[in-house]
Amino acid sequence: MAFTPPKESYAGKVYTVTMGTGERAATIGGESVLPFHSFEGGTPNRPLVALEIQDVPPADWPENVRKVYDGVSDDPVKWAKHCQDDLKARAIALRLVGTHPDRENRSVEDAVKTAKDVLAAVSIPVIILGSNHAEKDTAVLVAVAEAAKDKNCIIGKAQEANYKTIAAAAMANNHKLIAMSELDINLSKQLNILITQMGFDKEKLITDPMCSALGYGLEYTYSVMERIRLAALTQNDQTMQQPMLGDVGMYVWKVKETQAAEADMPQWGAAEERGILWEAETATALLVAGAELLIMRHPKAVAAVDSVIEELV
């Protein structure tokens, strides 16, 4: 029996999304095959990792990742420049977590100022995220989108409860938009439809099917991503052809494997390497499932993921 490679071709293609402006603008998506299947079709852009920064010091991050940013994380501008200039980040994600009513409850004006200052300080693409408080995010993200007009940012996250105003603001100010739903392919598709029905360009959307950490439900995110990508490619479903986001850092650095000291958990080995690998491995699994954009925290985890991407393309 002679072997013929069972290659496949697909009807659909992932949209190409560019973020940022000028020389440092970055492009993701555009592939017409399953992740890293360059043996059977085009994969024009490699996935992109954005380093996460916050509007307030990361007091709630575990020691092993917090300490990496000691001396810069007290000021979002310093932090952003450090990521761009010293860590050579290709993009950053500014999370305005301090605006959450149960956190520092920073005002919309404060959030706008932070976003403007960060945008003025760096030339790499910026993802601007709210605090995941549906109501407050509406006010914060609308104002921030306006302040960042024409910077071609990625604004997020629009959810079922608040997508209308956020999508309208992203549209009016020429930004890309993250649409997030909770671990369900149908919800994800439905939200994309609702947003595009408002007149939002389907090619300016990024899908976030919701991340989960290695060991804590990663398989759900993994399979939802695989299914979305298969629907995009095999069924040519235009409502599911957006590039996908894995918001890895905030999920990973919550679980006990990224925090427990080796003294408490000797069977888990060195805590520092364990935390870095937990983040990098979550990210790698999601890349294999179809994520094109990742938001991560530990620079060593990012470096490791970049090196595996290098081997995969």
Binding site: L214, E219, Y220, A285, V288, K300, L312
Partner: protein
């Protein structure tokens, strides 16, 4: 390739005698097609039909057991390309390489690491499954010495002997009689000799090819020589090639019924940088590897790889909800802390994990919220004061606890007053918002 129910029916006696326990031959044929019955239930089936059906019903990827005893690893038997279609069947084995150029002490220390690699995760015992002994020296005596060390210091662990020298392989494999090792290194120039070693010692033959075409030729030849159990190395080493080869192999076996590639895959991915190696291993776990060969197994690395393997090989059909009830964690007493949360399985796993972590025995009430997380359930009106109160009242838990204190998730602090009103005699305490703060919360309560 798999036969349809109707095709199978044509091969059955068509007497509808019911001896197989099915009302008709057709009903039995349908069960056979779905692999929910086996042919031996029909006493009247012809020899010819048996042969045809036997070939057709063989799983697309041959089931093979690596090693023996309680540490044996099952491989193969996979039926799908994507885990959402159906559960991936046999989790891949992790193997660590030792070389016969290493000192005896070094090899012993790797064996000790393997023997102590077992950890318990969500009720499963996970460990490094196998040791590869590589004939780096090219010297048969050195390989045998290294193999002796492994046999003595890692007794019971599955072994993969890695050499292209059939005589060296023979000397080493003898040490693992009856324990189903792999003899890896068969290629175009030594296939006959390696195949007879594998056959003589009931070992699995590891074929080392360069490319998929050569690989299928070699497995066909090996089969012709009477070898049944094979593991395949296509020669892929880079992550990109591993995805390509492993995907094409899995597709050929499952979608095309291409028998020459219907065997488990072994991937050698040793790298200088351990973190990088772990990530390449992650690609192998997700993409169809049956044996992943590593160069180091630090504990921080193993625990992460075990977790990924568990995630990928979880049954996707299991719903994301857990049963509504009051779970006991540890052995709670009448006055132990009593938490409530929703029945989204991730919420449950994380909260119960953190309570376990705190080592404080507790009760955890898991309320049916249609599988939504706390915040979403609250927003959707499925985790409200009225519903919580009703659940607690109906549970009869007040007979069991003395304290009558209920700890609610910090995210729904807003509900505490309303629940207190609806649950007279109960004290409502606001717990942490995130589960990871539970151990500190419990510690602070003393």
């Amino acid at each position: 390739m798999a036969l349809s129910g109707v095709e199978i029916f044509k091969l059955l006696p068509k007497t509808n005698c019911k001896k197989c326990g099915h009302p008709t031959c057709l009903a039995f044929a349908m069960k056979l097609a779905q692999r929910q019955a086996t042919l031996d239930l029909c006493p009247d089936v012809s020899e010819e039909a048996k042969k045809k059906l036997g070939e057709a019903s063989a799983p697309p990827i041959r089931p093979i057991t690596l090693g023996a005893g309680d540490k044996a690893v099952k491989m193969g038997e996979e039926t799908v390309l994507f885990r959402h279609d159906k559960k991936f069947v046999n989790p891949c084995a992790f193997a660590i390489e030792v070389k016969d150029t290493q000192s005896e002490a070094d090899i012993e220390s790797v064996c000790a690491q393997v023997m102590h690699s077992e950890i318990d995760r969500v009720g499963q015992k996970l460990r490094i499954d196998a040791i590869v002994i590589t004939n780096e020296s090219g010297d048969a005596g050195k390989l045998e010495t290294a193999a002796k060390t492994v046999a003595a210091k890692a007794a019971g662990v599955a072994v993969i002997i890695n050499t292209t020298n059939a005589q060296a392989a023979e000397a080493a494999v003898k040490l693992f009689a009856g324990s189903h090792p792999v003899v890896y290194g068969a290629n175009a120039s030594n296939l006959d000799a390696m195949a007879s070693v594998a056959k003589a010692h009931k070992a699995i033959l590891g074929i080392a090819a360069s490319g998929l075409e050569e690989l299928s030729e070699l497995t066909e030849k090996a089969k012709g020589l009477g070898v049944e159990d094979i593991v395949m190395d296509s020669g892929a080493r880079k992550a990109k090639e591993i995805i390509e080869h492993n995907t094409l192999i899995r597709r050929a076996a499952i979608k095309k019924g291409f028998k020459p590639l219907g065997y488990p895959v072994i991937n050698f991915i040793q790298r200088g940088d351990s973190m990088h190696e772990a990530l390449v291993a992650s690609v192998c776990v997700a993409k169809y590897s049956s044996i992943v060969v590593l160069s180091s197994i630090e504990k921080w690395k193993s625990v992460a790889l075990f977790a990924l393997r568990q995630n990928i090989y979880t049954d996707p059909q299991v719903p994301m909800q857990v049963e509504q009830k009051i779970y006991k964690i540890g052995e709670p007493k009448a006055d132990s802390p009593f938490f409530i949360t929703t029945n989204f399985s991730l919420t449950y796993f994380i909260v119960s994990g953190e309570i376990e972590n705190s080592k404080v025995p507790c009760r955890l009430a898991v309320m049916d919220s249609e599988g939504l997380s706390v915040l979403t359930a609250w927003a959707a009106g499925k985790f409200t004061a009225t519903k919580i109160a009703q659940f607690i009242n109906d549970s009869g838990i007040d007979q069991e606890v003395s304290a009558k204190e209920l700890i609610i998730p910090g995210y729904v602090a807003i509900l505490s007053g309303a629940i207190e009103e609806k649950l007279p005699g109960w004290k409502i305490t606001v717990g942490p918002r995130e589960a990871n703060a539970i151990p500190a919360f419990l510690k602070a309560r003393g």
